[in-house]
Amino acid sequence: MKVLIIGAGEVGFNIASRLVNENKDVVVIDENPEAIRRVSDNIDAQVVTASGSNPISLIEAGIKDAEIVLAVTNSDETNLVACLVADMLSPSTKKLARIRNADFNLYHDHFRKYAPHIDTLINPEIEVVKTIYRMINMPGVVDVGEFADGRIKFIGIVLDEKAQLAGTRLSELSRISEKQRPLIVAVIRKEKLIIPRGNDYLLPGDLIYFICEKEKILDTLAVFDKSEAPVQSVLIIGGGTIGMRLARLLDEKSVYTKIIEKNSDRCARLAEQLNKTLVLHGDGSDQELLKEENVHDIDVVVTLTGDEEINILASLLAKQMGAKKTITKISKFGYFPIMSTIGIERVVSPRLSAINTILQHIRHGKVLSSISIKGEQAEFMEAVALETSDIVGKPLKNISFPKGAILAGIIREKIFIIPDGDSIINPNDMIIIFARRQDIPKVEKILAVKLEYF
């Protein structure tokens, strides 16, 4: 399968490297020779140094036999024009565009039906706002995502020293918490991802990922000794697109919100757009300002400025000054590994969510959604079990699953089943699979290899 990626920025680069690892043919186009060199030095992909909206360079990059075009430059306009030109040259190619301007959201259908025929518009900012909101609402949660239209969630938490489950063996879990046995799919210990088996232990400080139904989240969190009063106040630092959208959402939910923004014009705009939110003009990393605004009484501080370093420092400062929870926006993937070391637990990244959304659409077979977890070492995939697939119709213990993968759940006619060795997958069941990055091609193979027959 050939994929054309327009834009070799952080998003384009990471998608390219993921797809190449999954053995796809990738061509990357970018105008910037530096960005192109980074790709050609690190990734086994073909590169074209040219504008991605230029028809001649698109032909040169082989648009005609590409199955998918991803327009992921920083500019909405370039992406749209690139899709338009691609549509002209090769109508059968599937097109995805990253569009950050929220005003386009209402017109998704138009874009699909008419001229550029863009199959999917991706707006990472909206995804990020949703993620932040979920994190705000769930006690102790550092990472969260959802499947099956939000009915099933995966949740990442850090196990406290005092938690009753600390030091427990996984196989004893069902004995301790009879009702709510959480299905633990992964443990991240010292930045290393472990897919736990029955005789692995849970240790304090572990980042634990588990899956559960929406209604049972609070109960399950209680099993891990995570419970807090509902959030009443939020401070947002940085009033960009994400900041504003988050503030508006919190406004609607009647959470007391303050937003700090440096640029006075932007502040004026924020004040016009937001009703109950208190707009403050100032520097988010200014200690005096934070003190003035009683940061120690704030439940959650969210740092969303365009500058990663300021976000990190402001989060650390707010925490130091007594904020209960912080959520930090980070785009540079290089920083992920050090986050928990320097004491930042909750991280959101628009780029990572853009990559997640895009990957969902590229997966072979009927993979409906896929979400990468922290540091991208592993992925959740949600898929429909095809009748022709190898996994259907026999007990799970007879299926040779790749070592780095785990079947995390089966959804049959809206009922969520936590699988064990004797469970059988029926055709058209939804299944949730968690897999390490290097095992993803194998999983894809089990799910879809026979799809080729159609």
Binding site: D25, V26, S40, N42, D44, Q46
Partner: protein, 482 residues
């Protein structure tokens, strides 16, 4: 630098080489000659050593290769492969000293075609086949071959590709390096097959046709005959060899485009156009120059003149005439041809035409900006701008080429070799041509070069094949620092 990793990959290359030795073994068995036992021994030693290197140094995980490591893998890989490739020559006793065997092996893999053998025809068939076959392997590149076959090199393969492929601007034909390598090798094998068939039609014996095909396509130049191609003294063979030497000296991605149904591919590429035009011009000059004093018939002048020009400029090094008896002008032209060499991305050696063209364009740009000091001028090639980085690396390459030529010929002269031979031998070794001037001319050989001179020429041949940077960088102290 992760030496373990580098050594383990070199180990895999060595195993490969051992497997390649099975072919001369088959040839030896067929003719039932004295090469069977030494080749068997070589296979054993090579495969075992490769296996040990791999087993002791391997790591479980395939890793990304950094640029520096890529260079180290290519440079050491080539050296080790040449070393093991010398075993069949040495173990059979057909070449007595180890340095001679190593010289012959390096001359083979680097597609130079310089030989220390005085009587080629006395060598056993199996060994002679190996001598031709290693040229074929080295022509398109042993690393490229492993990239096509071994999946695990794909991770950082681009670094290896850049270090081995003879071109200033490496480009990919396909998104995946592995596919690119596969295509290049397939095109190479296809053209080789075509030449083999044409030689067989001309009535050459299968063994000789195979050996000569294996040395034309990599622009190598080893022959199984003492008199090289003149042994056949046939116009048909001369023409077949000329055509295929030229084909081998043209960028292989153009062959690929041609095969994919773009008939104008050669014409559209400015390097190729310029190269063919220039060769044509030189043929006219040299033929005119030798017409009269050497050859009485215009047909002969054209035939031998063009063969020698093509043979030298493509850095093949076949001979149908002793050009040292030609007028001075022809000799000087041939001497310069040794430097110019073939096109980028071909199997030929030398400086490569594209570099020379860009160098001239650069000089013109400098002159132009003296006339128009405020003019903004970009150097372009085929309508595409060439970045300053590439331009700088090309100028550096050309400077290093000349400096190394000067240094090495000076040292060779210092060892007591006469000055014509010194110039000729070094130019022919760095340019991967083969025959030079003086003692090492088309009727001579490298046997009389002193011991250290041979080692230096070995180094020169590797320098030329791996395009200088990959080899010379090992002498830079910063390369070894952590």
């Amino acid at each position: 630098m992760r030496w373990r990793y580098i050594i383990s990959i070199v180990g895999v290359l060595t195993i490969f080489l051992g497997l390649a030795m099975i072919l001369p073994l088959i040839v030896g068995l067929y003719y039932n000659d004295q090469s069977v036992i030494p080749v068997l021994k070589s296979i054993g030693i090579t495969i075992c050593s490769g296996f040990l290197l791999y087993i002791f140094f391997r790591k479980n995980k395939a890793e990304v290769i950094l640029q520096r490591e890529g260079i180290a893998i290519v440079a050491f890989g080539w050296t080790i492969v040449c070393l093991f490739g010398a075993l069949p020559f040495y173990l059979g006793g057909e070449i007595n000293s180890f340095v001679d065997a190593f010289f012959e092996s390096v001359s083979g893999f680097t597609t130079t075609g310089a030989t220390i053998l005085t009587n080629v025809e006395a060598i056993s068939k199996g060994i002679l086949f190996w001598r031709s076959f290693i040229q074929w392997l080295g022509g398109m590149g042993i690393i490229l071959l492993s990239l096509a076959i071994l999946p695990f090199l794909g991770v950082g393969g681009m670094q290896l590709y850049k270090a081995e492929v003879p071109t200033p601007v490496p480009d990919k034909l396909k998104p995946k390096l592995r596919d690119t390598a596969m295509i290049l090798w397939k095109v190479y094998a296809l053209i080789t097959l075509a030449e083999l068939i044409l030689l067989l039609i001309g009535g050459m014996s299968f063994y000789d046709a195979l050996c000569h095909t294996f040395t034309t396509m990599p622009t190598g130049g080893f022959s199984t005959k003492n008199a090289s191609i003149f042994h056949y003294n046939s116009v048909y063979f001369d023409i077949v060899f000329m055509v295929f030497m030229l084909l081998a000296a043209i960028n292989f991605s153009l062959h690929y485009q041609l095969l994919k149904g773009k008939p104008l591919a050669f014409w559209r590429n400015s390097e190729c156009r310029f190269f063919l035009g220039f060769v044509f011009l030189l043929i006219i000059i040299v033929s005119y120059n030798v017409y009269g004093p050497i050859y009485e018939k215009i047909g002969d002048a054209l035939r031998f003149g063009s063969f020698q020009v093509i043979s030298i400029i493509t850095t093949t090094g076949y001979a149908t005439a002793d050009y040292e008896k030609w007028p001075a002008m022809s000799q000087v032209i041939l001497f310069f041809c040794m430097f110019m060499g073939a096109s980028a991305g071909s199997t030929g050696g030398g400086m490569k035409f594209i570099r020379i063209m860009l160098c001239f364009k650069y000089c013109y740009k400098e002159l132009f900006s003296l006339i128009h000091p405020h003019a903004v001028v970009k150097i372009k090639m085929g309508g595409k701008p060439i970045s300053d980085d590439i331009m700088r690396s090309i100028l550096g390459f050309l400077a290093l080429y000349i400096i190394l030529f000067a240094f090495c010929s000076l040292s060779l002269a210092g060892m007591g070799v006469d000055y014509i031979t010194s110039f000729g031998a070094v130019a022919a070794a760095i340019g991967n041509v083969g025959p030079g001037f003086g003692l090492v001319g088309p009727v001579g050989n490298y046997a009389q070069i002193p011991f250290f001179g041979k080692w230096m020429l070995i180094w020169c041949m590797l320098l030329g094949r791996l395009e200088i940077y990959t080899v010379i960088i090992l002498l830079v102290p910063a390369f070894w620092r952590k």
